[in-house]
Subunit: 204 residues, 2 copies
């Protein structure tokens, strides 16, 4: 039998609470008191489970990065055409962002404050499927299936189009006075338009 019951251990409650607070306020803005409150315990217990705020943060940060490349590897390894794969990647990323829209800002703003060697360690735990992607594009070009493009430029385009709109949501919503519902509808629509746009740019 598989674990179905929710994990109600204190450690789990703390991690849930810490995620919420850190994502919202960032490392510097988060308070151990806030996290303790959100977890329904007291500060001392936080230190009992995770020696320091620093360590608790690293836990959350590393785990968050693990969620960056969700099902990408399996998509890339699948038996599909380049176009199908690219569409799936876009849809997968946008879906992921719909569920955790605060993730990209958190990761990008905290990553720029972490020392390099720390980040390097993380990539070893959570290898991004970069080489498979580059390989897919390069062979597709050789086989004449798509126009010659710089694989990294293409990747940047995909990531930009999928992720940025979620990062800019608070600001764009304000500026454009688009309400939450409308904005969400736009994001849903992008699951179709973004792959179209990307594929159009490489189709011969």
């Amino acid at each position: 039998m598989v674990k179905i019951k929710k994990d109600n251990s204190t450690e789990h409650k703390i991690l849930e609470a810490a995620r919420q607070i850190f994502f919202d306020k960032g490392m510097a803005g988060a308070r151990m008191q806030d996290i303790a409150d959100a977890a329904g315990i007291n500060k001392a217990l936080l230190h009992y489970y995770f020696r320091s705020k620093e360590r608790l943060f690293e836990n959350i940060f590393i785990d968050a990065i693990g969620n960056l490349f969700p099902k990408l590897s399996s998509i890339l390894e699948s038996e599909k055409t380049v176009f199908e794969k690219i569409e799936l990647i876009c849809v997968e990323y946008i879906t992921q962002m719909q569920q955790t829209p605060y993730l990209p800002i958190f990761i990008l703003s905290e990553a720029s404050r972490q020392p390099e060697h720390f980040l390097k360690q993380i990539w070893n735990k959570h290898k991004p499927p970069l080489k498979p992607f580059v390989y897919m594009i390069e062979t597709s070009i050789k086989q004449g299936k798509i126009k010659p493009v710089h694989p990294m430029q293409l990747l940047m385009n995909i990531l930009s189009l999928c992720i940025f709109p979620f990062m800019a949501k608070p600001l764009l919503q304000q500026v454009t006075s688009i309400n939450k519902k409308e904005y969400d509808a736009m994001m849903k629509e992008r699951k179709k338009t973004v792959p179209q746009l990307v594929i159009q740019s490489i189709k011969k």
Copy 2:
């Protein structure tokens, strides 16, 4: 005669230092001591010029946002075709990002933490040229110059493609082991490819 000499007043030194520290560490992460050190003065003087950290931050934040829509209005008002205008907007944004690559992360992460009413005030000081853009797209569609597209979706695509690669730079550079020089070259190349991509998506 115009002011050519550098403004060496204390106030100016403080603002320079505060910009640097706030951009780097964010509001919560920045320390008044850091800012004082960077400005070559002491904490007390910071409070003499700007009553509180809060006020100093607002100064920087509002000014930073003011730099977001620099030449966009004049581009939109100019006598050019839609395609030329879109190309100019992309080039203008990417150029801006090359000069101040830390700006988007700073603005977006702080914006998501600021209360709404505070942001609303800012848009009154620094009106983003949103309506001119939407108007341009809508009339171009009516005149049959471009395909029918949702103006906001188009704007999102432009902003995403121009801005995101700079936000993700620290992370992408690490993951891909692309060095600084190569990355900068890629960004330069995007001044051509991004407008092409965007224009291709609306050209009939």
